[in-house]
Symmetry: C2
């Protein structure tokens, strides 16, 4: 799923419509072809930062007004359309549901680990924490030098300044949601 270009699509169309401009008007004013503008609005193509620059410059709007989601927006993240951000065949998969965004102070991920596999994660800096809830299976977590067993439905908060290990020591898949935060 393409987050940002969908924002651009919606925002651009909205701005154009409220200004009562045609695609051709915008093309005229920005130097971007009207077919390209149409494709962008329909989400059919992902503009380069340079074309985006032409648009914001020509329309005299801030960059962020195209790129950001209106904060009233409902955002639905469809797992099937979500490509694993990080994964290793038969080991683990890591999905970004709500990755870093300037306006938020936390991030939400989902991770699944195959039977008898584990994933080692480096520290994320001082004063960072994870809130982890297991959806299915049992997770063995090693953090801050200690080992915890988190069962289906259970949840844990732990600091992530140092290395931590997500291990699946069972025969079934384990899935869990991570809310990552800082400060």
């Amino acid at each position: 799923m393409e987050y940002i270009s969908q924002n651009v699509a919606r925002n651009l169309k909205h701005i154009r419509k409220t200004r009562k401009m045609s695609l051709e008007d915008v093309a005229e004013q920005t130097g971007v072809s009207k077919s390209m503008l149409g494709q962008i609005e329909r989400g059919e193509s992902i503009p380069t930062v340079e074309t985006l620059g032409k648009i914001v410059s020509g329309l005299r709007i801030p960059f962020t007004s195209l790129v950001n989601a209106a904060n009233t927006d409902i955002i639905i993240v469809n797992k099937d359309e979500l490509l694993p951000f990080k994964s290793m065949e038969g080991e683990y998969e890591f999905y970004e549901y709500f990755p870093y965004e300037e306006s938020r102070t936390f991030e939400i991920y989902m991770m699944q680990i195959y039977p008898n596999r584990k994933n080692i994660s480096g520290g994320h800096g001082e004063n960072t924490f994870e809130y982890l809830t297991v959806i299915t299976g049992t997770l063995t977590l090693e953090a801050d030098g200690k080992i915890y067993e988190i069962k289906e439905g259970d949840s844990i908060r732990f600091p992530t300044h140092g290395d931590h290990i997500y291990a699946n020591n069972t025969g079934e898949m384990v899935k869990f949601i991570i809310t990552f935060t800082w400060n």
Copy 2:
């Protein structure tokens, strides 16, 4: 000349270096290939807004920190590398020196008009003005219902809420600088 991607190039490299990360580290953290990252930093390719999104999200930095020029930067605009934003063969050419940017309250352009040609411009909204200085030749300007002759070296400020016409009624080329502002 590609403004924004040069900003991205510089800013990304700077952030990466101050964090003492390798291209591979960044690739790892953002999901963008290290060759792509290298090309971006060297200004060899212009990323799509989506790859830019992966970078800012992975690095946990605001969009604007990549896109904007550090406001201490010296910016040199080389006319030969500047492609005319708007032009008509044998009629006129219009160059953007400092186009719209959120942090500025004015824009600077250069325009040249061929002998005995003119260019008609629509209004730019209420409380907009142009400060126009003629570099070579004599410009005949029609604005706000009146006609003015601006000679080489002379300058004029006029409102641009309505149509205005830049005319070259002479046998030689006319060139002038426009500073456009509002409010």
